[in-house]
């Protein structure tokens, strides 16, 4: 135990963040998220070796590319903090995307179509929540089943076809800019901010951590466990719905095959950001870092013209390295 470590630090990340006063507290909060070391290392390497990396256009492109996975990963963060898992998000993105597209084609006004997409996502989340809380099923199986069912529905409702050709007012949600800034990235930023407030500043947030950290204790303390879990899965579903809208707008089209495997990337981002699949740990700031690390890696691989066969290998190796730094750092500090 190093002398620098006062008795007050050493939590799983969040609770320091919760106390973060944006001045001096930030340093301490980041100190908790040692994954920041990996993040900085990758950024520095790219900045030094690749001139194009630090250009505004490139940085905006990273943010844009990270916005879909970011939105979905925020929902996944909530779920994982409760020691659950939501494998359905990728399929729900595809399903809500095509449903939104169908709504647009059925001449729904854009705001209503967007709400339809988000609402259907929330409904998928509510289905997950019902099966997990009331029917007492394991989150893994439930959301795996919904993964298959939502994907199937996306094919069934579209007959396998791509839904395309949306009005610009819709496409701009995912593909437009506000001044120089991609709107999708702005939406993601708002989602992150709201989630950060919710998880680290509100009573509901604290209850989510409590339910994930010790469900029985939470129950005995009068926390409404079923309601908390339901909220969490519904948020995750609704954000996947928002993701479907953003993706459909970005690509001016909605495909039933979209976003396959997105759930694994989202979960990876959350876990890279310091969350534990056993619950009670994790933070929105950590997830943000995790998402950006994945975005950085992919951007770097394109910028450096890495041959496609090597891409996957290097992706894996860099994630491994970034998390290794983190875990050695924690080990050194005797926190394990």
């Amino acid at each position: 135990m190093s002398a620098s470590e006062s008795g007050d630090t050493g939590s799983g990340g969040r609770f320091t963040l919760a106390r973060l006063k944006l001045g001096g507290g930030l340093g301490r909060a980041l100190n908790e998220l040692t994954i920041v070391v990996g993040f900085v290392a990758i950024s520095l390497y790219l900045a030094v070796t690749t001139p194009a990396f630090l250009s505004t256009a490139n940085i905006l492109s990273i943010l844009l590319a990270s916005s879909l996975i970011g939105i979905v990963a925020v929902g996944e963060t909530f779920v994982i903090v409760t020691s659950g898992i939501d494998l359905s998000v990728g399929s729900v993105v595809a399903f809500t995307g095509v449903m939104t597209g169908l709504a647009i084609h059925a001449h729904f006004p854009v705001p209503l179509a967007v709400l339809t997409g988000i609402g259907i996502g929330a409904f998928c989340g509510a289905f997950n929540a019902f099966a997990i809380t009331v029917l007492n099923m394991s989150p893994f199986i439930v959301t795996l089943a919904v993964l298959a069912m939502a994907r199937g529905l996306a094919f069934i409702v579209t007959n396998g076809n791509t839904i395309f050709d949306f009005p610009d007012s819709f496409d701009n949600i995912g593909g437009g800019n506000l001044g120089p800034l991609p709107i999708a990235a702005l939406i993601a930023a708002v989602v992150f901010l709201a989630a950060w407030v919710l998880l680290s500043r509100t009573v509901l947030g604290a209850e989510i951590y409590a339910v994930g950290g010790n469900r029985e204790a939470a129950r005995l303390a009068g926390i409404p466990v079923t309601r908390t879990l339901s909220v969490v899965y519904i948020i995750s579903g609704a954000l996947a719905g928002l993701g479907g809208v953003v993706l459909a707008g970005r690509l001016d089209s909605a495909q039933p095959i979209a976003a396959v495997g997105l759930e694994l990337n989202a979960i990876a981002a959350v876990v890279i950001g310091g969350a534990s699949l056993f619950g009670g740990k994790g933070s929105v700031l950590g997830t943000l870092l995790g998402v950006l690390i994945i975005g950085l890696i992919n951007n770097g691989l394109t910028l450096k013209n890495v041959q496609p066969f090597w891409v996957q290998f290097i992706q894996g190796a860099v994630i491994f390295g970034a998390v290794l730094v983190d875990s050695l750092n924690q080990k050194r500090r005797g926190r394990v």
Binding site: T162, F164, D252, P256, I257, N299, Q307, P308
Partner: protein
């Protein structure tokens, strides 16, 4: 003089055909000293592809070769490229915005499916005198253009054939996802349930290999020509597909040539950058051939090119 940078985004490398295409692009670029390549693969995800193309645009490439995952989903970034005055050349699959691309060099997947149905009809006619028998359709990955268009071509033609020939029946239509193991498992189970299957149409050669191996494991293999032989036809002409045809395990495949096709696109880029822009056609079907044991090693086919063999030889 600095070579002009060409950005390339292939939909996926999870399939020999696209590896062939990529090799065609790479060798094509090498043949032009004035061009160099940035080579990316979208791993089958349209959103990833949009991001990669944007990253290529941000690097101010001189031209883009796109093999879109989806013709509609690629449109927004193609328009971005247009705004940045970067010419776009689409390969195998186009962008659904017409003139936004300089050239669209395409495989006619609907025709491939149709010709597959016709091939099977021909073999059955040879066997029974009339077009009749039990046919299995192992389609490709749902939601992909290749899978869906081939299926559409096959299904439309098969419906036509079977309404004219009541003895022709489709006993099963299942998606084998361009995955040999999936093709194997489905065929195994179909063979267990039906002992009178005459032919299997496959969305690509990997599906067909799965079917061939399942027939072997079920001890249902008899040589081509025997009335009990199960006709297997694939699409693409992969190296393993060609080998299976040579061994007489598989009847035929319908092959395009991604190597020459991709090289042609690179030629168009050279032509666009340093020559006669107007001479480049807006749209073109790249020809394909039916390969069977009989024609596989004939000069005409050699002339067209067996990409499966060529890629492996490199």
């Amino acid at each position: 003089q600095q070579p002009a940078v060409v950005g390339y985004s292939v939909s996926t490398l999870a399939n020999p055909f696209f590896q062939g295409m990529t090799k065609g692009v790479v060798t094509g670029i090498k043949a032009h000293p004035g061009l160099t390549l940035i080579n990316t693969s979208a791993n089958g995800d349209a959103n990833t592809q949009a991001t990669q193309v944007l990253d290529l645009i941000n690097q101010h490439v001189a031209a883009l070769i796109l093999n879109p995952i989806n013709a509609n989903a690629i449109v927004p970034v193609v328009r971005r490229a247009n705004k940045a005055h970067i010419p776009v050349f689409t390969l195998d699959r186009g962008a659904a915005c017409g003139k936004c691309q300089v050239n669209f060099l395409e495989t006619d997947n609907v025709a491939l499916g149709k010709e597959g149905a016709d091939f099977i009809a021909g073999r059955l006619k040879a066997r029974y005198g009339t077009i009749k028998g039990n046919v299995v359709d192992l389609e490709g990955l749902l939601g992909t253009t290749a899978g869906d268009d081939r299926e559409r071509g096959f299904a439309t033609e098969f419906a036509k054939l079977s309404s004219a020939n009541p003895g022709l029946k489709l006993v099963a239509r299942q998606a084998a996802d361009f995955d040999a193991d999936k093709g194997f498992n489905i065929t195994t189970q179909l063979l267990a349930a039906h002992n009178d299957i005459d032919a299997i149409f496959n969305g690509n050669d990997d599906n067909a290999i799965g079917a061939v191996r399942a027939i072997r494991q079920a001890n249902r293999f008899v040589p081509i020509g025997d009335p009990k032989h199960i006709v297997v036809i694939g699409i693409d002409g992969t190296e393993q597909g060609l080998s299976a045809i040579r061994k007489g395990q598989m009847d035929a495949t319908l092959s395009q040539n991604p190597l020459t096709m991709a090289a042609q696109t690179v030629n168009y880029i050279e032509q666009y950058l340093h020559g006669d822009k107007a001479g480049i056609p807006a749209h073109q079907f790249w020809p394909h051939v039916l390969l069977t044991k009989d024609n596989l090693d004939t000069p005409e086919v050699k002339q067209y090119g067996l990409w499966g063999d060529q890629v492996a030889a490199q």
